[in-house]
Amino acid sequence: MRMFNEALCRRTLLKRAGIAGLSLLSSSALADDAIDLWLPGGVGTRAMTTAFPDKGRMILQRTRPPLLETPFETFDNDIFTPNQLFYVRWHWSNIPSNIDADAFRLTVHGHVNTNVVLSLRDLLAMPAVDLVAVNQCSGNSRGFFQPRVPGGQWSNGSMGNARWTGVRLKDVLDRAGVKSGAVAVRFNGLDEQVLPDGPDFMKSLAIDHARDGEVMIAYAMNGQQLPLLNGFPLRLVVPGWYATYWVKMLNDIEVLDGPDESFWTKSAYLIPDTPGATMTPGETGVKMVPINRMVPRSFVTNLAAGARVTAGAPLELRGIAFGGDTGVKNVDVSLDRGATWLAASLGADAGKYSFRRWQLSVTPSRGDQAIMIRCTNSEGKTQPAEANWNPSGFMRNVIEITNFVAA
């Protein structure tokens, strides 16, 4: 609820400051109960909903199983995304709606010396770690693909940044004792397939990745237990990797002595094995591989598309950036379609997997304007000028362009 009050305060502040009205921050809301996401080719109107437990006002992409998008103005308030506004995505609708914290157990089994069964109390007794990390759906921004592709028609809000607290996956695996010859570790949650023969949602990581000391099992998100819809009581955190690996309601860890041949790891969430995960619509024979590391992205958060601002007056722009699988090195802004770039100043560094604030004061001249934002990560990888395309709508990270008018 804190968020809504803050938004209110900001609007009041803007009104008092007397700048170009509310257009700077105006969302694309059609009415209180709907929003237009301005997806190319239409069908972009979505209902807003407050019907989901422990969730605030979310964009309703699908009721069952839930797909709830974070309203984009949330990202203007803080680099941390509040739990009640954090996006939600489930694969199957058999989601337990009742979980007893005392009875819950996490089991580790498979290619290990000893099977281990841990309660939440057991996990609290282990060394705690915390980490700030972006969790982003593989298909974030899918609705902007052209030609359009089937799937959850997200705008840019199927992502969020949180402080995750929990235990190292490595520590849990060590308690079971991984046998030599282990190849992968598979993660399963309490959610189940609706159709008996359908594939249960599970994901795997290579054994070395699982034991890298960074992958963790989180029991807290922004200092609180996870909302059920974000995976209460435990969620795998795979820093720098797409959210499909961040298994929710994690209750089963299986160490495998061979590659995971099950559907969700081997055959789903595949991207073209090409730079930028891009291919031509209709192209065949492209080698496909499981999606993995995230790539840099950046957004302006206080300038809505089509906003009107005062020409010749300073315009304080701000937004967020993240480096993908490593930190943000710089964020650059262009007001001349990419001919020249201005370096934005960066906010505090909450860790290399976190969102990072950027801000820049510009003075737009009269007329139609466009702002481009470009993040370069600390390994030198930068956002592309041209959008990628693949049939699943994964890994979009093109340089964002926001059109506005200075008058």
Partner: protein, 112 residues
């Protein structure tokens, strides 16, 4: 505008105040059991040829909104979506109903 700048400065200060500690501050001591209700979404597909087939076969797994929020897509894409639901997710859809569903989707959500 001056106030805006002040506010941006404050926002950055707030961020700095919540920087990660060297050691995890374990704020959680106990967990509260959870018992909630999840909305079902009882909207039906609009009436028309094939609406019975799509209502009877598709709503067991997902609400209609998922489909109604899709953009116009070519018939071949709808065909492969229905095939995926049957082959991968094991939806028990008859050949006859599958054909009706593809026709229905192409009619309400078709593209060239």
């Amino acid at each position: 505008m001056a106030r805006l700048i002040v506010r941006a400065g404050l926002a950055l200060l707030c961020v700095a105040a919540t920087l990660p500690a060297a050691e995890a501050a374990n704020t959680i001591r106990t967990f509260k059991s959870v018992d909630v209700d999840l909305p079902f979404g009882d909207r039906m597909f609009p009436d028309g040829p094939g609406s019975d087939a799509i209502n009877n076969n598709c709503l067991a797994c997902h609400s209609a909104g998922m489909v109604l929020n899709q953009p116009p897509l070519p018939r071949t894409t709808w065909q492969s979506e229905v095939t995926k639901m049957r082959a991968v997710y094991k939806a028990p859809i008859s050949d006859e109903d599958a054909a009706s569903i593809v026709d229905y989707l192409t009619r309400i959500k078709g593209a060239n």
